[in-house]
């Protein structure tokens, strides 16, 4: 099976942990009309990584890099979740039973339901497991 359509490019941006840094990133994206579907911030000792799913990852990469930010792509998958109790459990259980480790995850709940974005240790296995158990994954083709 071709897993490629399900592997989504998250942009990861290095940011110092100080006032105004997120605003600078968000402003840059706004300037080029890039929409953020979901994002999260991970922080360590004095710095962090802003992780975002945007509607046009390549454009976001060019814009942010041009603005002096350190940016990289990270492969993630985005699983649709039932937006009711037990929705997260279903997905986590399938991956857990299959021995796939979730390194980090964040979620959003929009008009078309809830979506869980996952960074896992074995992307291919995760896609295969979720599809096999009736899960639905966002396709990279919905992004520009």
């Amino acid at each position: 099976m071709d897993m490629k359509p399900f592997i989504i490019k998250q942009i990861s941006v290095f940011s110092e942990n100080r006032p105004g840094r997120l605003a600078a990133i968000a402003r840059a994206l706004e300037e080029d009309g890039i929409n953020i579907l979901a994002f999260s911030i991970a922080e360590a000792d004095g710095f962090g990584v802003v992780r975002a799913l945007v509607d046009n990852p390549d454009k976001a990469y060019r814009k942010l890099t041009g603005g002096g930010f350190s940016v990289n792509f990270t492969d993630v998958i985005a699983a649709k979740m039932r937006d009711q109790p037990g929705g997260l459990y279903e997905i986590a259980r399938i991956l857990g039973d299959g021995g796939v480790n979730i390194e980090y995850a964040y979620a959003y709940s929009g008009k078309e339901g809830a979506v869980l974005i996952l960074r896992v240790d074995r992307v291919d296995s995760a896609i295969e497991l979720l599809l096999k158990h009736g899960g639905e994954l966002l396709k990279t083709s919905i992004f520009h």
Binding site: S12, A44, S70
Partner: protein, 352 residues
Amino acid sequence: MPLSKVVRIHTTSGTTGKPTVVAYTRGDLNNWSDLIARNLTMVGLTEGDVFQNMVNYGMFTGGLGFHYGAEKVGMTVIPSATGNTKRQIEMIQDFGVTAIHCTPSYALHLAEAAEEMNAHFDTLKTGMFGAEPWSDAMRKELENKLGVTAYDSYGLSELYGPGVAFECKERNGLHIWHDCYLVEIIDPVTGETLEEGERGELVVTPIVKEAMPMVRYRTGDITMMMEDGCLCGRGNRIGRITGRSDDMLVIRGINVFPSQIEHVLLQLPEVGNQFMVYVDRIGHLDEMTIEVEMTREHFSGELHDLAQVQKRVAKALRDALELRTSVRLVEPGSLPRFEGKAKRVIDRRGGI
């Protein structure tokens, strides 16, 4: 002097990646321990004293230097070295220690730790503090908290180590031994010799050193010659050190040149070559924070990779400086660029 006649080597911080090496003949070691013994005797210590030497042994000259000088006096020497403050406090109590040697900032840390443990130093009477500049306000605080009379000790590895100049019981200037060292004070910019009472850079010509003779060695330390007439009757006195003529920092008694940091960063591709150094005093101990820029190419997008880079930089700095530092990763291009003289060090410690 052939290496076969050199019986010991110590090192001190150099301005580049490599430490400065200092060598000693048997005669040098004898002269050096004589100097220390004189200083200890000058402040009234005898074979009846028990001495705890709370400085780094090893390549740093403070440990072995004081150790052999104190043995020469006949004192009972406890080579406790650094670290484990609780154990240091217990040893002072258990061995009935009467005299200690350490950096002034560590002494204050020790005093506070003792307060927290509700430990008392009933036997302690003499404290000898050196390796970093300290003030008279600090002297009062140390004397109150530790119950000692506090003496300033001055030296540098190139001139053997500690023991070059030392306060007598008057504690009004440090006597620099005229039978071992010729002293001048110069204007660090023009090189012109200054008069008694004028502050400038201390320049020393050692006259008894064998393995590493030197002429007019510029110490980088700022002080002045004081007029003769100390009540103790001894000659040559210099004032307490008030600063440096170069950009050397003293962090927890260890000398650090900003160029050493630069040298370390040049060898790490994950970070840029620009840096800023912030020095603070937290709980009486010096803390050095170094900001470095992450390079774009080495940003993988993963947080744990960043943490790895941070660790690697901290380790490389610790290996080079022999000092624990905090490393902060900042965004590329965010640190100040300097045209002309760089001002990369922000020392927020104030006087001690």
